[in-house]
């Protein structure tokens, strides 16, 4: 993988940026200059300065510290949603391709689910869940992004299913479980990894949007989307409150997209023209 990244410089840049943000998120308790929850009205809406490199928000909280802690939430949400939607989508896709009758029903339901834009499906699921929490956001986005993954996995699995080695495995008496896990799944893994990278980027954008709309995690939790939402009314007098969190959402998503592009070119050149 590193050889691939080394050849694709943009992919390498994406990897370095992603790794730096991950490191900053992990080390947030040690590198954050202030407590991200500490209110200090006496220093509210201070522009960037030596003591507060990104300035302070309307409650006097240090924006840099909140951005660092916000990275944790974005990364956890992005990776969890990518994992959940990947598992659900690949499961449905493979089962649908392998068991044709079940597949016909499952893929029709999948097509119907794809008629709902992801963010709207996630909003509806959150409304049904009732309580805004990180787990609910992850589940809602995971379900919302799964149909797209299922469609990709289904298309690939249908093609692989017709290959001679699958027929050979069936001929020597391998069971469905063995064929799916030992023969179908390993051959799907490369395009799925690529798609997962893009899903992770979309999930970070989606969760930031939900937080911005006020239906994501609770507002006091440092999250990039909620920070922009809270700061938007101060846009004329303190634009730094919204500039930094929004910039880091963009940077993280850009890094994932660059990495995804490089991985796609390396792992599955056939997909290159699709995205």
């Amino acid at each position: 993988m590193f050889r691939v990244l080394w050849r694709r410089k943009t992919g390498l840049v994406g990897f370095i940026v992603l790794a730096s943000i991950c490191l900053a998120a992990i080390l947030a308790p040690f590198v954050a200059p202030c407590d991200p929850y500490r209110l200090n009205p006496s220093i509210r809406l201070q522009p960037p300065n030596r003591a507060h490199l990104f300035g302070t928000d309307m409650f006097g909280r240090d924006i840099l510290s909140r951005v660092l802690y916000g990275a944790r939430l974005s990364l956890i949400t992005g990776f969890s949603v990518a994992f959940l939607s990947g598992t659900l989508g690949v499961g449905v896709g493979i089962v649908s391709a392998y068991f044709k009758r079940t597949g016909m029903i499952l893929m029709r339901v999948n097509d119907a689910l794809m008629a709902f834009p992801e963010i709207i499906l996630a909003l509806a699921l959150l409304a049904i869940a009732g309580r805004a929490s990180l787990a609910n956001v992850i589940i809602a986005l995971g379900i919302a992004y799964a149909p797209r993954m299922a469609r990709t996995a289904y298309g690939l699995a249908l093609r692989i299913r017709e290959f001679a080695y699958i027929e050979a495995a069936q001929a020597i008496g391998s069971g469905s479980f063995r064929i799916i896990f030992y023969h179908l799944l390993p051959n799907l893994i490369s395009p799925v990894i690529v798609q997962t990278t893009f899903t992770c980027a979309l999930a970070i954008l989606g969760s930031a949007s939900l937080d911005f709309l006020g239906v994501g995690v609770s507002p006091e939790v440092p999250s990039w989307g909620a920070m922009v939402n809270e700061g938007r009314i101060y846009i004329t007098i303190a634009p730094w409150v919204i500039v930094f969190p929004g910039f880091f959402v963009s940077l993280l998503v850009l890094a994932l997209n660059l990495l995804g592009d490089a991985l796609r070119d390396a792992l599955d050149p056939r997909l290159r023209r699709l995205v």
């Binding site: 339901v109 834009p117 709207i120 909003l123 922009v228 846009i235 004329t236 500039v243 959402v249």
Partner: protein, 315 residues
């Protein structure tokens, strides 16, 4: 052509039925009694019972489902709990803003997606190609709420060229100057959605530009602009139309956020308002409408294919 359109129309019926089934059962997934959840903790048992009756929740499930299907086919999407009016009327009040926003944004998507995509393909592996690819990738990476606020900061606050928020009807007032309310939201939506169109236009054009008929056209001495716009673009059009239609459908999704940023009274903002107020009948109605629009856009795309490539309609 009529037979082709009929076939496509029939094909969306099962999907539409499944969409309606999903939206029906979605409300039934609410933990506990949906009527009690909608009315909140202070509601009296009588109020809850009245709402249960009004929503038909006291009937057997299959009766509820049958009535629900009949209602939807009559165009009745139920009664909004939060806004105290029929959901259909509520949506109709908001349609103009969202419709005009989608049209203006689609225009921006086209301008930022198709010509740069063609240019990137023609100037393959040059700095222009690299720059346009990076520009497209940037578009796909920016959160629409942040880009909207940045545009607002630049072109409404620092340089007051456009209004920061709100919208005044164009159809009711006949005042075309009201389109100025849609400039910043359309640029926001258009830019974030143009990335995929630009990239796919580039890759489709690259594929077609290597075909023999393009080489033949060039060797006959046909002007390069004609080779690109007439010979290549028409043959590269199907994937471009596909992604453009998906993007148009995607505009409805991004509009949820953008309409909230610019306080536009559209359908997208209604989705957020009804989610925040837990107005389930409105959420259900909006989901049906949005999914229906998505299916219609798909249908129009299929019909467009047949116009672009006549072979498709005889398949």
């Amino acid at each position: 052509m009529a037979a082709y359109i009929t076939r496509r129309l029939v094909a969306i019926v099962p999907t539409l039925f499944l969409v309606l089934t999903i939206t029906f059962f979605l409300i039934r997934l609410i933990p506990g009694d949906p009527a009690a959840v909608m009315l909140g903790p202070d509601a009296s048992p009588e109020d809850i019972e009245r709402l249960r009756h009004l929503m038909g929740l006291d009937q057997p499930l299959m009766v509820q489902f049958g009535r629900y299907l009949l209602r939807v086919f009559r165009g009745d999407l139920g009664m909004s709990i939060a806004f105290h009016m029929p959901v259909t009327r509520l949506i109709l009040q908001r349609v103009e803003t969202s419709f005009l926003l989608a049209l203006c944004s689609a225009f921006v998507v086209f301008c930022l997606g198709v010509p740069p995509g063609i240019l990137a393909a023609v100037k393959r592996n040059t700095w222009i190609d690299q720059f346009l690819l990076m520009f497209a990738l940037l578009g796909a990476s920016l959160p629409s709420f942040w880009l909207g606020l940045m545009l607002m900061l630049a072109f409404a606050v620092k340089v007051p060229l456009f209004p920061t928020s709100g919208f005044s009807s164009v159809f009711k007032t006949g005042n075309l100057a009201n389109f100025r309310y849609l400039v910043l939201p359309s640029l926001t939506l258009g830019f974030v959605n143009s990335a995929l169109v630009a990239r796919l236009t580039r890759s489709s054009m690259l594929e077609v530009l290597q075909e023999d008929y393009v080489r033949v056209a060039r060797s006959k001495g046909v002007r390069e602009s004609r080779v690109i716009l007439k010979h290549a673009l028409r043959n590269a059009a199907i994937p471009i139309v596909t992604v453009f239609s998906f993007t148009f459908a995607g505009l409805m999704s991004s509009a949820v956020v953008t309409e909230s940023v610019f306080a536009l009274p559209g359908v997208g903002r209604l989705v957020v308002e009804s989610v925040l107020r837990r107005d389930y009948p409105t959420i259900q109605g909006l989901m049906i409408l949005i999914a229906f629009l998505y299916l219609i856009i798909n249908l129009i795309t299929d019909i467009t294919y047949a116009f672009i490539d006549p072979r498709i309609r005889y398949d």
